[in-house]
Symmetry: C2
Subunit: 331 residues, 2 copies
Amino acid sequence: MSAPTLDVLAIGNAIVDVIARADDAFLAAEGMAKGGMQLIDAATAEGLYGRMGAGIEASGGSAANTVAGLAALGHRCGFIGQVADDQLGAVFGHDIRALGVTFDVAPRGGTAPTARCLILVTEDGQRTMNTFLGASQFLPEAALDADLIASAAILYLEGYLWDPEEPRAAMRKAIEVARAAGRRIAFSLSDGFVIARHGGDFHSLIGGGLIDILFANEAEITALAGTDDFEAAVAAVAPKVPLLVVTRGADGAIAVQGATRTEVGAEPVAKVVDTTGAGDLFAAGFLAGQAQGRDVRASLRMGAIAAAEVISHYGARPEADLKALVAGALG
Amino acid sequence: MSAPTLDVLAIGNAIVDVIARADDAFLAAEGMAKGGMQLIDAATAEGLYGRMGAGIEASGGSAANTVAGLAALGHRCGFIGQVADDQLGAVFGHDIRALGVTFDVAPRGGTAPTARCLILVTEDGQRTMNTFLGASQFLPEAALDADLIASAAILYLEGYLWDPEEPRAAMRKAIEVARAAGRRIAFSLSDGFVIARHGGDFHSLIGGGLIDILFANEAEITALAGTDDFEAAVAAVAPKVPLLVVTRGADGAIAVQGATRTEVGAEPVAKVVDTTGAGDLFAAGFLAGQAQGRDVRASLRMGAIAAAEVISHYGARPEADLKALVAGALG
C-alpha cells in the first residue's frame, strides 16, 4: 500500500445553500421541525422559496463543508459529489476548487438542477433546513474515483448520502475501496431524521467494524442508540467504534477512544448568528487535529474552534483564518 | 396628476454579486483599480472567477440595493431592471420581491445570462468590482412601465445605466415620463470611471434641470466638476441641482439645498467588513427620510445609519432591522 497523498477524501451531497432569516411563526406555519433537515421535492422547494425572505447563496453540503474547513486548516482534500451543469453547479465547483480541494466529478446534464438547501435561520441562531437534492441524488457509482479514494488517509462520509438511492449504493463501494487500501473511515450521522430512515444501515456499518471515527451530536447518538439518555447512548455506541466524537452544542464535546473519555467545553462565541455547519466544521477541526498527529483533546479543541467560527456568521464555511485561530489557541 | 402610490421607483442594472476576499497583491496582479468598478466581458468574467477565491452570492445592483434599503425602512418601492431566465435571475427576482418591492420585468431569454458583479473585498473592507452586465445591458425601453414610473413620488436612476446602450436610451424615456407626471428625479453618479465615460450626458441632464436630487461621493463629485478640490467641486455643482448629497466615507456626508449646507458625521462602526453598497444604502436612508417628511439633517442621519449597517457585514443589502436602528437613533 502506498502512502496517502490526501488527508481526507469526502463524499457528500453537493449543495448550494440559500440562507434567509425567519421567525418561529414562519417555521410553524410551514410545519417545519425547528433544527431539523427535511427533504423536499422541486415543487415544494419552489413554493417555499416563494414564501421565504430574501437570502444569500453560499456553497454548502455537510461533507463538503467539512473538507472546506480542512482545506482552510491547510489539509489536502478531495471531494466527490454530483452537481448539475447549471449556474449553481458552477458556483459549487468554483468554491470548493478555489480552496484547493480536488473535485473532478463531471456536472450532470439533464433537467435535475444542482441541489439546494433552503435554510431558515431564526433569531436564536438555530437553522432549519429544507433540502431539494436535485442532481445530487444521482451521484453514480461510476463517479467514485477509486484511485482518489485510495489516495486519502481518511474517507469521510455523511449520513445524508443514505437518503438518495444511487449514492447509498455507491457508498458501499467507496467503503470497500478505502478498506482495501488500508484507510480509515469516518462517518457523520448527519441528522436524527436520517437515522430514523436509515438507522438499520448505520448499525450494520458500525457493527460490521467499517467505521473508525463516528461523529454525532446529542440528538443523533440518542436516536441511533434508541434511548433518551445521553450517557446510556454513549455507553451503548462507544464500544462499537474505535473513536466516537459527540458534539453537545453549548456544552462542548466529548470523545471516547477505548476506555478513555475526553471532554472539552465549547469555545466562547460573542453571538451565535447561524448554527449551520457547526457539526461539519467541528468534524473538520477534529480531523485536522488527527491528521496533524495531535491527541484527542487537542483535536476536540480544534473542532470546537472551527465550529465557533462558523456559527458566528451566516453560512456554513469558514470566513476567518482558521489556521491562525488554532495557532493562537493551541500553538 | 394623481397622488403617487409608490415612494420610489428605481431603474438599475439587475445584478447578483459574487463576493470573495482578496489581498492587494491579487488586485495588483489582476490590474484592478482598488475601490473602482470595471466592466468585463463574459470571457474575462469566467477567467477572473476561476482565479478568485471561494465566495458567496447575494443580490446586488446599485439602485436595487437602494430600493432594498427603502423597503427595509418600510417604504413602497418598485424596481425595473433586466435579468435572464436562469438561476441567478430567479435569485435576483426572489430577493427583491421578498422585500415587497414591485418587480415585473419579464426575464429575458437568449444566451446572455443574468448580470454578475465579481467583488473582491480586501482586509480594509474596501471593495473592488468587476461587472459582467450580461442580460442587464439589454433592458429595453419597452420594459419601462410608464404607469409604474408615474406612480412613484421619486424616480431613482443609477449612473451605471449609462454604460450599456439600450438602458441609456431608455433612461431618457423614463425621465420624460416622471417629469410629465410631476415626479422628482434622483440620480446617483455611481462611479468615477462611469463619469469619465458619460460625464457629458450627466452634465447635460443636470444642466437641463432634470435632476432634483443628486447623489455622489467625493471621487465622483470631483470627477464631475473636473477638479481635485472637493470644496470647489461642491461649489460648482450645488447651484445646478435643488438638492446635492455627497458622502465622504468615514468623514460623514454633506447636503446642499439652495444656500443651506448641512453636514453630519459618519455613524460609528465596530469593524468595516465590506463597503459594498455603502453609497446605495446611504441613498436609501436619505430618500426614506425625505419620503417621511424629515428635514435634510435627519435624512442625512438616516443615510449614515443605513450605510453603517451595510458596511458592517458582507453583502450590499441590510441584514439588521434598519427601522429599529433609525427609531433608536432618531425616534
